[in-house]
């Protein structure tokens, strides 16, 4: 397998990935769940609005997706840079 041997590329890619994930993490909790709730007030869901759903359920679903996505992408990066453990 073709390994990329410059490990600093690995760390930069990791930090980029973390920033992307943290953006989604903040958007679904602080964004949709708290700050932008008034903007989502028009979208009704089960007797309340979308912001309430994000604050009490939606954000947690996204948190799980973010962690598994990160773990999966990092495994790919580990392999690409030949840093995966036996």
């Amino acid at each position: 397998m073709d390994h990329n041997t410059d490990p600093s590329g690995y760390w930069k890619a990791n930090v980029r990935l973390i920033f992307g994930c943290l953006f989604v993490w903040a958007l679904v909790s602080y964004g949709f769940g708290i700050l932008f709730r008034p903007l989502l007030a028009g979208i009704a869901i089960g007797g309340t609005d979308l912001g309430f759903w994000f604050a009490q359920q939606g954000s947690i679903i996204f948190f799980i997706i973010i962690i598994f996505f990160y773990a999966w992408r990092m495994n790919q990066l580990d392999k690409k840079y030949g840093l995966d453990e036996e």
Binding site: Y30, G46, G47, T48, Q56, S59, I67, A71, D84, E85
Partner: protein
């Protein structure tokens, strides 16, 4: 069979299981005692982390907090789960790669400073001790209610059980009992919730039931709930909060606090590989989410059920007669967690938002009977009475209501839920076993974090570096035993700070430990002076801000300002200050590091090495 016998059987069976695991999973080395030998499967570790994390607070108190506070308390849901995203990306994999046994060990090595390690040990001990007292008292409450023993007796039984498997098995015993405890607690939490969701909404999944139609009323459950609580003078359940800055900071404080709590972090030292630490954080959140998806439904439905019990003909009709109250209310009145005070002497139970009238009346009675400022209390009652008469167009005053008459402690909602919903006796037995599992599993995890900080960081790290592995294992067991005795004593005689878990444990972990750990991994430039200055800044500013509003060292009467929103700096509550403390920590650490010498080369190489997964090896000794 009596309810008591059923409870004994459920609790007894679950304890027999924990004892069996303890005998099977004995620790033979320090590596097994501290990190279960580093061979725990990531999914099992996720499950153990779930039980480690979900405490008496999550199991017993959280649904009650949500029921009372509605949307405004969503911070707990987001905060206590969102921290795992930070753990998975910012801390767990790198600390696993570092491969030592404790959190202070990383801080000490990375910042090449015994002072830094010592500050970390102090933070760890304050945060974990505060936390563990709540678990011990929680276990005591569950025992006394379900097994009809004295609170203290219950606490002692709990201590003996934890002593047995934590001292014998260390992390190894704790890990596998936590897996069993997770199963017990999640089953116990879910079954009553499913029944209640079916009763109210016909939807068997509580998380979906929360957003479904209320079967009887034919409108969405939350619409119905908003309607009845506003009719009773409360804020609507789904109402938005006016102070969003405080809600954001509170959520953030809980998240970074979660990520920085040592008893959670050390769970990720037990998996074999760096990649496993990442997966394991995901699995942990899956298992935690199973309870956290259900909790808001339990809260909303329990609030509705409680109101329906008090006002069987609807909230605009007369309330229930005290003599006709259901049996579960009588049982809980015995524990003092439900209090009834017939203020208008009509024999009925009025439960509503009385603008503080009931509380003011109670303060006046206390002042008269136990001595106190009767004049001030009388003025307070008069003010509250005027507000009461004016509020809701005088509806409550016109009905002859003289203040809220029923005081229901938030903590009973989950424990009483099966009785409120008339579920069969075995469900109540299950709840008893579940509540105990939640309290004991978290207590064990915290006690391990405390004892390993003492035996590994203090004894091996400072006092006697030449101690043998066998000697250290014995020291770890003794430290564990002493920690249990101290925690039990504090559980029986809770100090003032015991109720301040959220402020103290999360504030300190978030403001002091989390930033230090993160900077140690993501920056090569932060040095020993910067780290120590930053940690102390975070720790001290957070503590001072808390003390100003809650009293110095939580001694009542020593607060400088009242703990209400109008006196908070920029509307930031003392519970939300951890995020600000963390920010100050980052700034001070950066500035001080820039003004002093860069870390030596070998430290920069250490930072390099934790960033790359290859060659993690097992968790190793100094």
């Amino acid at each position: 069979m009596s309810q008591f016998m059923i409870n004994i059987i459920f609790v007894g069976l679950s304890f027999a299981l924990y004892f069996g695991i303890a005998i099977w999973a004995r620790a033979g080395s320090t590596s097994e005692f501290y990190v279960a030998g580093g061979g725990v499967h990531p999914v099992l570790n996720g499950m153990a982390t779930g039980a480690d994390w979900m405490s008496a607070a999550s199991f017993i108190s959280m649904a009650g907090i949500l029921a009372a506070g509605g949307y405004a308390t969503s911070s707990y849901l987001m905060g206590w789960t969102g921290g795992y995203v930070l753990l998975a990306m910012l801390l767990a994999p790198y600390l696993r790669k570092f491969g030592k046994f404790t959190v202070p060990a990383f801080i000490g090595d990375r910042f090449y400073s015994k002072t830094a390690a010592l500050v970390a040990v102090v933070c760890l001990i304050i945060a974990s001790t505060t936390y563990v007292i709540g678990q011990m008292t929680g276990a005591g409450v569950a025992f006394s209610r379900f097994l009809e023993v004295q609170n203290t007796t219950g606490l002692l039984i709990a201590a003996v059980v934890v002593f047995f498997y934590a001292v014998l098995g260390g992390m190894k015993g704790i890990t596998y009992t936590q897996v069993a405890q997770y199963v017990v607690l999640i089953v116990a939490y879910t079954i009553p919730a499913v029944f209640i969701s079916l009763q109210l909404t016909d939807n068997p999944i509580p998380a979906f039931g929360l957003f479904s139609n209320h079967t009887e009323a034919g409108v969405p459950l939350l619409t119905k709930l908003d309607q009845v609580v506003t009719d009773l003078g409360f804020t609507a359940y789904t109402a938005d909060v006016p102070n969003k800055l405080n809600m954001v900071l509170f959520t953030l404080s809980l998240m970074i606090g979660t990520a920085g709590l040592p008893h959670v972090i050390i769970r990720f030292f037990t998996v074999p590989k760096v990649a496993d630490a990442r997966w394991s954080a995901g699995w942990a959140l899956v298992f935690i989410a199973l309870l956290y998806f259900t909790a808001p439904a339990v809260g909303a439905m329990a609030r509705l059920n409680l109101i329906d019990t008090i006002y069987p003909q609807g909230v605009n009709e007369p309330a229930i007669n005290y003599e006709q109250r259901p049996d579960w209310m009588k049982t809980w009145e015995d524990t003092g967690l439900i209090k009834y005070n017939d203020l208008n002497n009509d024999g009925r139970i009025q439960m509503y938002n009385d603008s503080g009238l009931g509380a003011a009346e109670l303060a006046l009675t206390n002042a008269q009977t136990e001595g106190g400022d009767v004049g001030a209390a009388t003025t307070a009652v008069d003010t509250a009475r005027t507000a009461h008469a004016a509020e809701n167009d005088g509806k409550f005053a016109d009905a002859g209501w003289a203040g809220n008459e029923l005081d229901v402690n938030n903590d009973i909602l989950v424990l009483a839920n099966p009785e409120i919903a008339n579920l069969p006796p075995w469900v109540i037995g299950l709840i008893a076993a579940g509540g105990l599992a939640a309290a004991l599993s978290t207590a064990a995890g915290l006690l391990l974090a405390i004892s390993s900080a003492i035996s590994h960081d203090l004894i091996k790290g400072h006092i006697n570096p030449n101690i043998t592995d066998k000697g250290e294992l014995m020291a770890a067991r003794i430290a564990m035993g002493v920690a249990i005795v101290v925690a039990t004593w504090l559980g029986i005689n809770p100090p003032g700070f015991a109720a301040q878990v959220v402020a103290l444990a999360f504030g300190i972990a978030g403001a002091s430990l989390f930033p230090a750990l993160m900077m140690g991994i993501f920056s090569k430039r932060i040095n020993n002076h910067g780290a120590v200055a930053g940690m102390l800044t975070g720790l001290i500013t957070t503590l001072v801000y808390i003390f100003v509003y809650k009293g110095w060292f939580f001694i009542s009467g020593t607060a400088n300002l009242p703990d209400t929103a109008e006196f908070w700096l920029f509307g930031i509550s003392p519970l939300s200050f951890g995020a600000i403390g963390a920010l100050l920590n980052f700034i001070v650490a950066f500035v001080v590091s820039m003004m002093t010498k860069a870390p030596p080369l070998e430290i920069q190489q250490l930072v390099e090495s934790v960033r790359y997964p290859r060659g993690a090896g097992g968790a190793i000794d100094h």
